[in-house]
């Protein structure tokens, strides 16, 4: 975990879609264990998917987990490099509780020459009671032989 300074990287607010959603850096495991990264998605009326129950839409949770797992790859590689999400699967274990901030915890399981394998959970109280589980893969765009296709 040398060349990638996550604290400096996360010191500024996200722009683009993540900024619109209000996603911010939350923390990381630096005990030398699994090496997870956490981002936070504050509750907001604009993110509601079901006006009756006021439950968050599922889209912002995917965006949160896409980013949390993405940052976990950069931490594991020790550098920031472009990567493209190849696929992402999300299991919605339970609805997020209206009003609560959702924390997305991303983990990078394995990096090969051109692919990073990730998983993660989202929770709104404790990691022991996750509301979503994700598994995904990223294509490393700086890997040899992947060429320059976007």
């Amino acid at each position: 975990m040398s060349g990638f300074n996550i604290d400096a990287f996360m010191a500024h607010r996200f722009g683009g879609h993540a900024g619109t959603l209000g996603i911010v850096y939350h923390g990381r495991d630096d005990t030398g264990g699994k090496g997870w990264v956490e981002l936070a998605l504050p509750y907001g009326d604009a993110l509601i998917g079901d006006p009756d129950s006021k439950v968050l839409a599922s889209g912002p949770i995917i965006a949160l987990m896409d980013m949390a797992t993405s940052v976990a790859v950069w931490v594991k590689r020790g550098k920031f490099a472009p990567q493209a999400t190849l696929d992402l699967r999300v299991d919605y274990l339970r609805p997020a509780v209206p009003g609560r901030t959702v924390i997305g915890r991303g983990e990078c399981l394995k990096i090969t020459r051109s692919i990073a394998f990730v998983r993660g959970i989202a929770y709104d109280e404790t990691p022991d009671d996750p509301l979503a589980h994700v598994a995904g893969t990223f294509m490393l765009m700086d890997a040899p032989s992947t060429g320059s296709r976007a």
Binding site: H17, A46, I62, A63, D66, T85, L88
Partner: protein
């Protein structure tokens, strides 16, 4: 068509509008703007996924309404899971999406959704979802 296609606040955040079609669920259109940007010049994967999920739900609501008229309008849709494949980067142009209900059962619906830009035959992303249907 009945006025059941009210979009949730999250769809407004994405800037989504509907293009009506005869007898079919509407196509969703999401403009390219800062609010849906990921890495510079490209759509955020989360915004594409969100668009696909809204498209899937719109098509499922449409299918439920077709199936049994007003009675089913009270059916609630609960997402179980989603798998998204990202096939191309989303560029600086509008993105369209539509959902396809592959099976509508009593308790479970299987739905697919695709998103494309210039050419529907060259999707930028594809998703597969399972929904639980809670009928009152």
């Amino acid at each position: 068509m009945k006025a059941l296609m009210s979009l949730p606040p999250y769809a407004e955040l994405l800037g989504v509008t509907l293009e009506a079609r005869d007898g079919e669920a509407p196509v969703l259109v999401m403009p390219f703007r800062d609010d849906v940007l990921g890495r510079p010049g490209f759509l955020h994967g989360g915004a594409i996924s969100g668009l696909l999920e809204v498209a899937a739900i719109v098509s499922l609501q449409h299918a439920l309404a077709e199936e049994d008229g007003a009675r089913e309008l009270r059916a609630r849709i609960k997402p179980v899971n989603v798998t998204v494949d990202f096939m191309r980067g989303g560029r600086d142009k509008p993105t369209r999406a539509e959902g396809i209900v592959t099976r509508l059962g009593t308790r479970v619906a299987n739905v697919e959704a695709i998103a494309w830009q210039d050419d529907r035959d060259k999707p930028i992303a594809h998703a597969r979802m399972n929904y639980l249907i809670a009928r009152d």
